[in-house]
């Protein structure tokens, strides 16, 4: 992988379920070190876009590139190699319910490395400690709270020291304090791992805390209507839907709700 090409590039991506087009002509680039937020109202296709980026859904048209290499055109083994550099936390946590937290974190390490079991267990403990779950190694996902499940999912996502971290609605369903802690954790991990983060969210607090770049998916026109730093977009976005979204329904230019 050439180190100077952008971690993720999306060109002319069109997503559809059967005949129903979700989003069309998506073009964007995620730069190294960004916390890149994918915004949009409910049902605008944010999570669908994430599933396309991860190869869980196939695009109807267009291409996704990781570090300059085409992901869309790659055969399965090549895709697995590209995804090895990625860590993902899912909306519902996505923890394997039949495994303990330590085993959840250990499984990707076992899959991709030939480390001895003792070392893998040690790594799993470290990752869980990083997200504040020291002592919960032998708990099953169903035995811990929703916020802890999200953090455990994060520990699994960083198991292989990924260069790109994906977050699907990280703070959804969390209380404000936990949500804030999770935001801090995302920034901290980004800085310490030197990683790039792609976050799907519609939580304004999170967006303004973590985002350095963003795109806005508009349900009406079914494409990207704004991109850039959300702090700037808040007042200067050309599209009124973006301004209303970032100002909790009030457009600062019109001053009405």
């Amino acid at each position: 992988m050439s180190s100077d090409s952008d971690p993720i590039e999306v060109r002319g991506l069109t997503m559809a379920f059967g005949d129903r087009i979700v989003m069309r002509d998506l073009d964007f680039t995620v730069q190294r070190g960004d916390v890149f937020v994918i915004m949009g109202g409910s049902g605008s296709g944010k999570s669908t876009l994430l599933r396309h980026l991860l190869g869980l859904l196939e695009p109807v048209e267009g291409e996704i590139l990781y570090g300059g290499e085409s992901f869309t055109a790659a055969p399965p083994e090549e895709r697995a190699r590209l995804l090895r550099r990625c860590g993902v936390t899912f909306q519902t946590g996505g923890l394997w319910s039949s495994l303990t937290l330590a085993e959840n974190v250990a499984l990707p390490i076992e899959e991709y490395t030939d480390l001895p079991p003792a070392e893998i267990r040690e790594l799993a403990h470290l990752k869980l400690a990083l997200v504040g779950l020291r002592g919960f190694e032998d708990y099953y996902p169903s035995e811990i709270s929703g916020g802890m499940q999200k953090r455990a999912g994060l520990a699994r996502a960083i198991a292989l020291d990924p260069q790109i971290l994906f977050f699907d609605e990280p703070s959804a369903g969390l209380d404000p304090v936990s949500a804030r802690l999770l935001d801090q954790l995302i920034l901290e991990l980004r800085d310490s791992l030197g990683a790039t983060a792609v976050v799907v969210t519609h939580e304004l607090d999170s967006i303004f805390t973590i985002a350095s770049n963003s795109i806005f998916l508009d349900t009406e026109s079914r494409t990207i209507v704004a991109s850039g730093d959300p702090h700037v977009l808040k007042t200067d976005a050309p599209h009124p839907a973006v301004r209303r979204f970032l100002n909790r329904g009030t457009d600062p230019r019109e001053g009405r709700t």
Binding site: R51, R84, C86, G94, W96, E111, R156
Partner: protein, 406 residues
């Protein structure tokens, strides 16, 4: 339009007497003046006079006529309301107004809500704030029998191809396991074997004992005619060992293990655990399907062997209590009647049925949608497919084994 007499004379005692004489009063008759709309044309359009208590269940009079009057208006006209005579009102009032408003919009007639009660006006403004999205309405096209038949055949054809592909994937996965590139966790496998085998002993025994009993009953009644009741042992022995034990055991496993696999994997799909496996480069077939197929491939023949014995036991109970054939006699007779190739053939069938049941369960689990209802459907389909596959395979086996002289 007639003015409702009740609202003209709102005296409770008189109304009570009137209704009492006519017929037993209903709740609405007693409680309130009946709702009504009447239409009065004026120079610019229409005036709708609304009166009475508009509560749910009190069939309002004149709504259809009012709607027709609005629809007959020329474009550019306007509709006004006079609602001083409205008493209580709830959603039924708003629903009627919304219908009138929609009809007016279609005719490009303007509606002046001024005459309406304050609360109703505000709620109507709320309902009209977001115009109906034309693409939000789902298309409910009527499809005739031929369309549905075609669609169903198309779906079945595709599902069939998909399942065969899935069987191929499982075979490849088995190949990887043999070569050592796919690992099956021994702990997972042990648990699955425990659930599929030992925990099913009771129900497998019950079903096969009763089956042996029934076969003996039916057979003995016929054989008695020829004075050959002893041959009931041959009948029960051959039927159980050759075919029925394997089929009945596999059907029990389809209901127990096949359903459990579909529900477990379907729930993992709902919970995004399958996504997490894929993203981490872990093969779903290797990690989830292969151990389950192995568990049933190991346990179905063993349970079949056990079912053979239990079935013959059931037959001997009937023979000894009703036809004076001692259990020892029964067993000796049955053993002589059943050659080893029948026994091995039955166990082989058990292996195939077990594999089919496990794959049907796992396949429906993986295809499961992301909702609780989808998990239920996946479980049902898994059991149905499992049983259909067992019976189809049993039919094919009956023919092939016959041709091969086994």
């Amino acid at each position: 339009m007639k003015i409702n007499t009740d609202s003209a004379n709102p005296l409770p005692h008189r109304r009570f007497v009137t209704s009492f004489r006519a017929m037993p009063p209903t709740v609405t008759d007693l409680a309130s003046p009946a709702p009504s709309i009447s239409v009065r044309a004026d120079d610019a359009g229409l005036e709708l006079l609304i009166a009475g208590d508009w509560v749910i269940g009190a069939a309002p009079a004149g709504v259809a006529e009012a709607l027709a009057a609005v629809q007959a208006l020329p474009g550019g006209a306007r509709v006004r309301f006079r609602a001083e005579a409205v008493g209580r009102w709830d959603s039924s009032f708003l629903a009627a107004l919304l219908r009138l408003g929609d009809a007016a919009r279609e005719r490009e007639v303007s509606v002046l809500p001024d005459g309406l009660p304050e609360g109703a006006r505000r709620l109507l403004a709320l309902a009209d704030a977001v115009p109906e999205r034309p693409d939000a309405q789902r298309e409910t096209e009527e499809r005739d029998f031929i369309d549905r038949l075609g669609e169903a055949s198309y779906d079945t054809w595709h599902a069939g191809r998909d399942f065969i592909e899935f069987v191929g994937e499982v075979a490849l996965s088995l190949g990887r396991w043999v070569r050592g590139t796919a690992q099956v966790r021994s702990r997972d496998l042990a648990l699955l074997i425990q659930q599929a085998g030992p925990e099913a002993l009771g129900v497998v025994a019950l079903v096969n004992f009763l089956l042996g009993l029934i076969l003996a009953f039916v057979g003995a009644a016929q054989l008695q005619e020829f004075g050959a009741t002893l041959y009931v042992a041959n009948l029960v022995g051959i039927a159980m060992v050759r075919d029925m034990a394997a089929v009945m055991t596999a059907i029990v496993l389809a209901g127990r293990s096949g359903a459990a696999y579909a529900a477990a994997i379907g729930t993992m799909q709902t919970n995004q655990e399958i996504d997490a496996l894929r993203v981490n480069g872990i093969s779903v077939v290797d990690s989830l399907v292969l151990p389950r197929v192995m568990a049933l491939v190991i346990m179905t023949p063993l349970l079949t062997l056990y079912a053979d014995v239990i079935g013959v036991l059931g037959g001997s109970l009937v023979a000894s209590t009703m036809f004076d054939i001692s259990p020892l006699q029964f067993f000796t007779q049955a053993r002589a009647a059943v050659p080893l190739k029948f026994l091995l053939g039955g166990l082989f069938k058990g292996i195939v049925y077990g594999a089919l049941v496990a794959m049907a369960g796992c396949w429906h689990g993986i295809r499961c949608g992301r909702s609780a209802a989808a998990v239920g459907r996946a479980t049902t389909s898994a059991v149905v497919l499992g049983i259909v596959l067992i019976i189809a395979a049993a039919g094919i086996f009956a023919y092939v084994f016959n041709v091969l002289g086994l």
